[in-house]
């Protein structure tokens, strides 16, 4: 499979008054064309910063990509000029944000906002772009699309606004769509509809998706491969079934145990246990971390974990993990 996006040792740091925040510190992963990749982790683990780094949207006043490479279709994005980067944003790589309520400009009509992106990247006339916008609204299944073109965002519901965001993002047939918590602000029914729509359009248009979320349910339903991030590092990467069946990193296991279970098995076994939380919080990223970043919160911690950073190993094909004690973790699970 050919990779549309290859990220190697990406490090994005923010320079604050309290010191350097290593929001992303040496993350590598690939995205194959047409694939859906999940990035999962707690708040503040560097998921969104990774996404913003790919589009080079880190505000230069506060932070920058300090090292690493981002190759899109063989082109190195970290060294492109601003002008070249602008022609990629919204065209070949587009992004959907978390807040559908505030991600649309309240004073412009829906049609204008979709058509604008098309005119910018496609050099179409305004009326041709509006026709295309109309098509896009049909594609994202907004009923009465002709009328909706002339409506303002406040006249649409949250779910419809997120559909409009998807319409804008896909209006130029991007190769990669980055969805940063696309359904967090929506209720579960709408969430399921939006995810279904994204997957359907992915099949139809062949767009690869990076799905950023803290919701393992979303990961299970939509992705093929998952990257687990913790404190700016990738701690585990595996195909989705493999991850849910045989997670090797204690952090991933902790995340999985924190999902409420409602299935019949748990009910029958009579063990409706309390949900287990992961003790402690994500470490402050202002000081360089020696050893494993998860060590202070880990149940399997050993002396070595605090002293030396575990390298990424590949105990099974396609399944990488950074943990010194992975054998014990697996035994404990068995």
């Amino acid at each position: 499979m050919n990779n549309v996006l290859e990220i190697r040792d990406l490090a994005t740091h923010f320079f604050t008054r309290d010191g350097v925040v290593r929001a992303v510190d040496g993350v590598s992963f690939d995205l194959a064309s047409g694939e859906t990749l999940g990035i999962v982790g707690e708040s503040g683990c560097g998921k969104s910063v990774t996404a913003l780094s790919i589009l080079r949207l880190i505000s230069p006043e506060t932070g920058r990509i300090v090292s690493g490479s981002i190759r899109f279709d063989g082109r190195e994005l970290t060294t492109l000029s601003d002008e070249e980067m602008r022609s990629i944003r919204g065209h070949q790589i587009s992004m959907i944000f978390q807040e559908p309520m505030t991600s649309l400009n309240p004073v412009l009509t829906v049609g204008t906002q979709i058509a604008e992106n098309i005119v910018r990247h496609r050099n179409l006339s305004w009326s041709a772009a509006l026709d295309r916008a109309h098509e896009m609204l049909d594609l994202v299944k907004i009923s009465d699309s002709r009328r909706r073109l002339d409506e303002y965002p406040h006249q649409l519901s949250g779910g419809m606004r997120q559909r409009v965001m998807i319409a804008i993002a896909l209006s130029c047939n991007p190769r990669v769509l980055i969805a940063d918590e696309p359904t967090t602000a929506l209720d579960v029914t709408i969430q399921a509809q939006i995810l279904g729509l994204m997957l359907e359009l992915k099949e139809k248009l062949g767009t690869a998706i990076i799905m950023i979320t803290h919701d393992l349910g979303v990961i299970a339903e939509t992705t093929q491969r998952v990257v687990v991030m913790y404190a700016g590092h990738k701690v585990e990467e595996a195909p989705v079934e493999e991850l849910f069946a045989r997670a090797m990193h204690p952090y991933t296991r902790g995340l999985l145990r924190a999902i409420p279970r409602t299935d019949a098995d748990a009910e029958l076994a009579g063990r409706r246990r309390r949900l287990q939380e992961i003790p402690g919080i994500v470490p402050a990223l202002t000081r360089p971390i020696t050893g494993c970043p998860f060590a202070p919160r880990c149940a399997f911690v050993a002396a070595r974990c605090r002293a030396e950073r575990p390298p990424l190993e590949e105990p099974e094909a396609g399944h990488t993990v950074a943990c010194w004690e992975m054998r014990r973790v697996l035994e404990a699970a068995a």
Partner: protein
């Protein structure tokens, strides 16, 4: 299908307009008063006689059938003077509002968006705001020949910072909205972002601020003319009519009270229009009513 829809639109608009007026009568009252004043000012030469015709025999006559607003110490018709004076007030008010809004908008947008410009330009604006407009006008007029143009310029200079502060604060808050980030993620360049995404958001507060600037410009002009630093005495303005009537205030109060009342009503009308527009254009307030 489309023909029906097209026909329905103007009727709908009219209905919505009527609804808005009913909910918010201050707009209507302000607009009607202002429209009346504009009509009077435009048709002043046809409505009243020559404001400069002196008639020493009829000095300081009280209001009567012949002289509706009485006469002043030269026997000039106060009605004719007041009506012609409306022209100066309205010209000053409107032109100051328009020009200072345009300049303030440009400065405010650039300052709100480009932070490195902001630090420098806003300090300059603070400096300008610290100058009392009356003093600045007196200084400017002593340097040049008195006239309407110089009065307008003198009022615009201290008003620009007021407008640009409002626009800047809106631009600052809009700039951090997710939809701006979203537009950047879509590859929009700065200029386009500013004009297309930020500018429309500043229109409502700008219009409201513009009406207040208009009202305060009229007051400042009247003050300047009263002090003799405004429009020259050969052009009647409410300020200089009041100034000339000052010495005879006890025996002929009408030559002060009537232009004063006109000034008050005009400023009130503009402020009512501004208040009404603010309620109407701010979606949060509009919904509550």
């Amino acid at each position: 299908m489309t023909a029906i829809a097209d026909d329905a639109v103007p009727a709908l608009r009219l209905a919505r307009f009527g609804e808005a007026i009913r909910r918010n009568p201050t707009i209507l009252i302000g607009a009607v008063l202002l429209a009346g004043l504009v009509t009077i000012a435009v048709f002043a030469p046809w409505i009243s006689g020559d404001p400069f015709r002196l008639s020493p025999v009829n000095r300081l006559r009280p209001p009567s059938e012949r002289w509706w607003f009485g006469t002043d110490r030269f026997g000039r018709d106060v009605f004719a003077l007041t009506i012609h004076g409306a022209r100066v007030s309205l010209i000053v008010g409107l032109s100051v509002a328009l020009i200072s809004s345009a300049i303030g908008l440009a400065i405010g947008l650039v300052c709100g968006y480009f932070r490195w410009v902001d630090a420098v330009v806003m300090r300059v604006m603070d400096g300008l705001m610290a100058i009392p407009s009356i003093l600045l006008a007196i200084a400017l007029i002593t340097l040049t020949r008195p006239g309407l143009g110089i009065v307008i310029v003198a009022i615009i200079i201290p008003e620009v910072p007021r407008v640009s502060r409002v626009v800047r604060s809106v631009a600052l808050s809009i700039r951090s909205q997710p939809y701006i980030e979203s537009a950047v993620a879509g590859g929009t360049r700065s200029g386009k972002l500013l004009v297309r995404h930020i500018l429309p958001n500043t229109v409502a507060p700008l219009i409201v601020q513009g009406t207040y600037v208009c009202a305060s410009a009229m007051l400042i002009e009247a003050g300047l003319s009263f002090l003799g630093a405004g429009v020259p005495p050969e052009i009647p303005s409410w300020g200089n009519i009041i100034a000339q009537g000052r010495t005879f205030f006890q025996i002929a109060p009408w030559s002060i009270l009537i232009p004063g009342a006109f000034l008050a009503i005009t400023v009130l009308a503009v402020n009512m229009l501004g208040d009404g527009l603010r309620d109407r254009l701010d979606p949060r307030l509009a919904r509550r009513m």
